[in-house]
């Protein structure tokens, strides 16, 4: 019994001695690293803006401020290809002169699966809201109607009927361009 007490006391003294020893480890750098990682995790996991990292410049124009919708994707041109990148960082691309190939087919499949997922969620959660199945397209300003038509066709194919074009708001109210027609002439009859 006495030997057992001595053993415990010796272990305690050694532990105390180890704890009282001056540490040569500098935890500052380690704490900075851990802190940065924690910060990034907090910033990325909560309400990260889906537009971050997408190189699109939407039109600067007055528009209706909307709640976040179920489907958002950015469309831009890169090296003669139309590139579509979604909020979930899926990227699809096809040649700008014609919408064909694996990229366009994958995009069509993505939209159909997304519409199905949203419908499944709405039915099971009993949460029918128009904004869930609405698509918002953030288009780069150098796109023409020819580039966007296949995307609209893909939306219609996926049975997504409501969509909108994203615009960047300005603080000052926008004014329409003045009408520079010289006279108010009767419109020409088209022949």
């Amino acid at each position: 019994m006495r030997r057992r007490h001595e053993k415990v006391y010796t272990a305690y003294r050694r532990l105390k001695g180890r704890l009282l020893e001056k540490s040569h480890i500098f935890p500052t750098l380690f704490l900075i690293g851990v802190g940065l990682v924690l910060m990034l995790l907090c910033l990325t996991n909560f309400n990260l803006d889906p537009r971050l990292g997408h190189p699109t410049e939407p039109l600067v124009f007055e528009g209706k401020i909307k709640e976040r919708t179920g489907i958002w994707f950015a469309v831009y041109l890169r090296e003669q290809n139309v590139v579509v990148s979604t909020a979930g960082r899926d990227v699809f691309s096809w040649p700008a002169h014609e919408a064909r190939g694996k990229g366009y087919e994958d995009f069509q499949k993505f939209l159909k699966d997304k519409a199905k997922t949203i419908l499944h969620y709405e039915v099971t959660a009993e949460n029918l809201a128009d904004r869930n199945s609405e698509a918002v397209l953030s288009l780069d300003q150098n796109l023409t109607y020819f580039h966007v038509k296949p995307i609209l066709l893909a939306l219609a194919d996926a049975k997504i009927s409501r969509y909108s074009f994203e615009t960047k708001l300005v603080k000052l109210s926008s004014q329409t361009a003045p009408d520079r027609s010289r006279k108010k002439e009767a419109p020409a009859q088209h022949e």
């Binding site: 039109l59 023409t144 009927s161 909108s164 074009f165 419109p187």
Partner: protein, 188 residues
Amino acid sequence: MQTSMTLRFRIFGTKKRLSSDKFYFTLNIIALIGFFGVLIGMVRFLTLASQFGAIETEFPILSSPVHDVSYHRFSERPAKRITEYTTMIVLTPEAFFFGDVRGFSTDLPDARKRFEIPHVDGEPQLGSTIQWIRKWQKERSDKLGIRADNLAILVPSNQIPMAIVIQVLEQLKRERLFDRVILGAGIL
């Protein structure tokens, strides 16, 4: 000059206190907290986005109502219908053309069914177009009894930049000429 013993003792005591691990650790923690605060502020500043809006539109849907055999006999009716008299606006790089759906389809050979507003120096004259559409709709309503259904089909040609298409779409709704504007294709 000889410093007094008391002063020397005080200097020694201060040096000993400052070199104590206790204060060094506290200062480290405070510096780290300040550093993280500045970093969080900078990163949050970078991730904040501008305000964004949206210009809404939609695809027309073919109505196929399900027959309700229950007590309420609920049936969904479409809010608007696209007919042959629905206004159609075509935007090309040279001009606006407007008329009704019949004027761009079955009555295509008839030149009186469509109207042209040419662009001035390449700039679309949307204001004038809207005014002439209003006059045309009023004349149709007075003479032929065709009421405007507040619905328009906008058909831009392929070369038109999307920025212009979006602005035209929104301006047509903003002028209260149409409640809904549908984007179309295939006519050009």
